[in-house]
């Protein structure tokens, strides 16, 4: 059973490799005059248009409201760092899985990896959101169109982190994309690995006897 759990622990982190191929996040901008919406795919190493010239065309529209042009990979440290972080996490996860397989480490390491990955994920989301806030509110004072809210504060063009908002004439939808879903599946796999490992661990020894989970399962 621990072997099976370890195999899952090896497979789970490998799903993260999808992030090198598939976008993490997707933001679509549709408007009446854009029946085929503009869109950007956010990868761990940069931003690409959904269609070839979308980035150029989004920048073209954004210049009216004074937004900076979308960052190129060299403009943000995140795009050079994230691929290393993901690579390190995959390597770490696979190693833990292998060590688990040969029973050198316990299932608790599986949870350790999951928690670390979750913390990094939350940090990543926080960073992403902070960038969007900066990008959507830090506008050129000489912008062609300077729009204000009813209370006189400048309109923010920050895209939503998750979901849909109406922004001037545009419907902006921001959702996780294939890479993120693969990451989610991978992380869930490691979580399953943890619980399977835990279950496998129990009959072997008394070490975990005080665990509430264990008590519960004994009751069953």
């Amino acid at each position: 059973m621990m072997k099976k759990a370890s195999i899952l622990m090896i497979i789970g982190p490998l799903f993260l490799l999808g992030l090198y191929v598939f976008p993490l996040w997707n933001i679509m901008l549709g408007a009446p005059q854009y029946p085929e919406p503009l869109g950007m795919n956010i990868y761990i190493d940069g931003i690409k248009g959904v269609s070839e010239f979308d980035i150029q065309n989004i920048d073209g529209l954004n210049h009216y409201i004074g937004m900076r042009t979308l960052p190129k990979p060299e403009d943000m440290w995140e795009f050079s760092t994230f691929p290393w972080v993901i690579g390190a996490m995959v390597a770490l996860g696979v190693m833990i899985g292998l060590l688990g397989f040969f029973e050198k480490v316990s299932y608790k390491w599986f949870m350790g990896w999951f928690v670390l990955m979750s913390i990094l994920g939350v940090l990543g989301m926080y960073d992403f959101n902070a960038w969007m806030v900066d990008y959507g509110t830090n506008l050129d004072p000489n912008a062609i169109m300077k729009l204000t809210n009813a209370d006189g504060t400048p309109v923010s063009y920050k895209p939503p982190l998750f979901g849909h908002v109406k922004m001037l004439n545009f419907d902006v939808t921001s959702l996780p994309s294939t890479g993120a879903w693969l990451m989610f599946v991978g992380m869930m796999t490691t979580l399953i690995a943890f619980f399977m490992g835990k279950k496998a661990w129990q009959p072997k020894g008394e070490a975990g006897a005080v665990s509430p989970i264990k008590v519960k399962s004994n009751d069953q």
Partner: protein, 650 residues
């Protein structure tokens, strides 16, 4: 028991009569509502077919949707077109070059879509210029004219521009016979001296480039219309003739004397082989070949000095005449290639020749004399049948995919549906008014799409709100999916359509280009990056390398121009977004504006005549700041020594 059956029969019969009586009373309302449903293409929905209608004396080709009858675009071909600057911009002026010099107009007649194995393939559409003989090729991905070739030794390029079933050739026949080569001679020595040239222009399969391979020099008749053989008759081409009397004056009477004229059957494969083996005569000529390159966005014109002519009597078995009554106009071939339909335009009947019988008659030497050494086949030996229509003045025939033919009757103003093979008339419907051509998508191919027929009228009189003495022509759309034709729509057409070609929308819609790629722009004067924008002087020629993006010109302030300069504005549109063209014009511009598509470069030549500071602006509403898209050019006296300078945002 028998009596009861009879009674039931009578009652049923009575019931049918009564119900049909009721139907005919309700016809108008019921038909009108179902017709509305049939032509209604809801907002946001798309038409089922493209239809390309010739624009006749507008010189251009128009694009419509079926069944809605909505016009999508006018494609400039033989006429200058200020809307886009076609024929005005420096890049497109060469497209209208001919051996007669710059000819900015023509009479555009017969569109034909390229085919592979006799089926529409949607690569290109070919059209003919009737007046100054030319053939044009229009791309069906950009919907722009890509090539125009002049046809020498031709006059009134009318039996054109029909293609063979693998687009091997686009064929152009002369309407007028003329002296070949042209020379100074008395008109009344026409008979026996004038010639009619039938030109075979090859189409390169990869890029569509046209090349006049050979011309068949025919007796001095008028060659009216033509169509290719297909399927079993592939390799043959059929031309209708009139004025076999060879009259040179008052043709109205003089060319209507012979009871029968001919349909000429040309075995082009035989002549092609003859020419490939070195046959034919190289004759000095002078004709223009104009090619527009999509990457340089520039047209070039080359004069060609020689043409190969073929005397068909030197190629045995290459040419036969099929006697056809009453000055035949339309000459149409059914989808199987078995029947050749000749519409004697002064007749009530339609004459149908059989290809198989023609071959048998040739093999059996069933000749009825000859004309200028060309065998005339016996009429009854090639005749497949006659459609006794009851109409008057048949002109053109198209086909559906169920073995039916549809023929227009000009004089009796109607479309007549008849069965190929039995020659029986199935249905007839009036047109409004005096129909000429008709079109079924794919109706001139092996694979017609027999859902609609479009009837295009010759008389401009219509049934719309009146608009003075001059008006557009009118067309009708009939639903032909059932046994009887049903008139479902009237719509106006631009110019006078002489024939049309249609195809299913899915053949073209997905490959229709949206932008030109800036990184593929190889225009000599392109401004690829805004940093390349500059002004250069070469004597009195000034070249302005200008770029556009929403919503400014780079540069937009220019000084150092002098009266008498020739100022070339080379405008490159840096947009790479669908439907963001920028236009350009300047005060006193003697040509037209130019409309520059995303990624494209176009050039407008301006010759300033007055000292001053003159504005230029974008003519195409490009953004909310379009009205700000403007600039100034300072024009100094001819002897001034102000240096060239240019700027943006300073």
């Amino acid at each position: 028991m028998k009596n009861l059956n009879y009674l039931i029969c009578i009652l049923i019969g009575l019931g049918i009569t009564l119900s049909s009586c009721n139907q005919s009373q309700k016809t108008n309302g019921a038909l009108a509502s179902s017709a509305a449903e049939k032509v209604y293409v809801a907002p946001g929905e798309q038409d089922e077919f493209y239809a390309f209608l010739s624009g006749g004396y507008s010189g251009n080709l128009t694009v419509y949707g079926l069944p809605s009858g909505r016009m999508f675009k006018e494609i400039p071909v033989f006429s200058q077109f200020p809307t886009s600057g076609y024929g005005y911009s420096e890049e497109t002026k060469p497209m209208l070059n001919t051996s007669f010099g710059f000819v900015p107009w023509d009479d555009l007649h017969h569109p034909d879509i390229s085919q592979t194995n006799g089926e529409l393939d949607g690569r290109w559409i070919f059209v003919n210029g009737n007046n100054t003989p030319r053939i044009a090729r229009v791309s069906l991905s950009t919907f722009e004219t890509e090539e125009i070739i002049e046809v020498p030794n031709s006059a009134g390029n009318h039996s054109s521009s029909f293609i063979t079933e693998n687009t091997e050739y686009v064929v152009a026949g002369t309407r007028f016979s003329v002296p070949v080569p042209q020379r100074d001679m008395p008109i009344n020595e026409y008979k026996g001296n004038f010639k009619g040239a039938l030109s075979f222009i090859s189409v390169a399969p990869d890029n569509g480039r046209l090349n006049l391979e050979f011309q068949v020099l025919m007796p001095g008749f008028n060659y009216d219309l033509s169509h290719p053989g297909r399927g079993k008759s592939h390799g043959w081409f059929f031309f209708s003739t009139y004025n076999t009397e060879e009259a040179n004056s008052l043709l109205e009477v003089m060319a209507s004397q012979n009871d029968k004229d001919f349909i000429a059957a040309v075995n082009w494969k035989k002549i092609e082989e003859y020419v490939k083996n070195g046959g034919g005569t190289k004759m000095p000529a002078n004709y223009a070949h104009n090619v527009y390159d999509e990457e340089t966005h520039t047209g070039t014109s080359t004069m060609i000095k020689e043409v190969v002519t073929v005397d068909p009597t030197q190629v045995p078995g290459s040419l036969y005449f099929l006697p056809t009554p009453k000055s035949p106009h339309g000459c149409d071939v059914n989808p199987t290639g078995q029947y050749i339909i000749g519409s004697g335009k002064l007749s009530a009947d339609i004459t149908v020749h059989s290809f198989d019988k023609m071959i048998a008659a040739i093999e059996g030497e069933k000749f009825d004399g000859e004309a200028y050494g060309i065998p005339i086949l016996k009429f009854e030996e090639v005749l497949a049948g006659t459609v006794k229509s009851g109409g008057l003045g048949p002109l053109h025939t198209e086909f559906d995919d169920k073995g039916n033919a549809y023929t227009t009757f000009f004089i009796s103003s109607e479309v007549v549906k008849w069965k190929v093979g039995t020659w029986e008339v199935v249905d007839r419907k009036p047109t409004y008014y005096s129909v000429g051509h008709l079109m079924i998508p794919g109706g001139n191919s092996r694979k017609p799409f027999g859902k609609y027929v479009v009837a295009m009228n010759k008389i401009t009189k219509d049934r719309y709100l009146p608009t003075g003495p001059e008006m557009e022509h009118s067309a009708q759309i009939y639903d032909i999916s059932g046994e009887k034709m049903e008139l479902i729509y009237d719509f106006p057409t631009h110019g006078e359509p002489h024939y049309a070609a249609g195809c299913p929308a899915e053949l073209l819609a997905s490959k229709s280009k949206k932008i030109y790629r800036l990184d593929e722009n190889k225009h000599k004067y392109a401004t690829i990056g805004p940093d390349d924008a500059r002004v250069e002087r070469d004597g009195n020629e000034v070249h302005i390398y200008m770029s556009t993006i929403r919503s400014h010109f780079t540069p937009d302030n220019i000084e150092g121009i002098k009266v008498g300069d020739k100022v070339y504005f080379h405008i490159t549109n840096h947009e790479q977004d669908f439907d963001v063209p920028h236009g350009f014009t300047i005060i006193g511009q003697g040509t037209s504006e130019i409309l520059v598509m995303p990624g494209q470069t176009k050039t407008s030549l301006w010759e300033p005549k007055k000292v001053g500071v003159w504005p230029f602006y974008c003519t195409d509403f490009c953004s909310a700041l379009h009205q700000e898209m403007q600039g100034y050019i300072r024009v100094s006296p001819a002897n001034s020594n102000i240096d060239l300078s240019w700027s943006l945002g300073e």
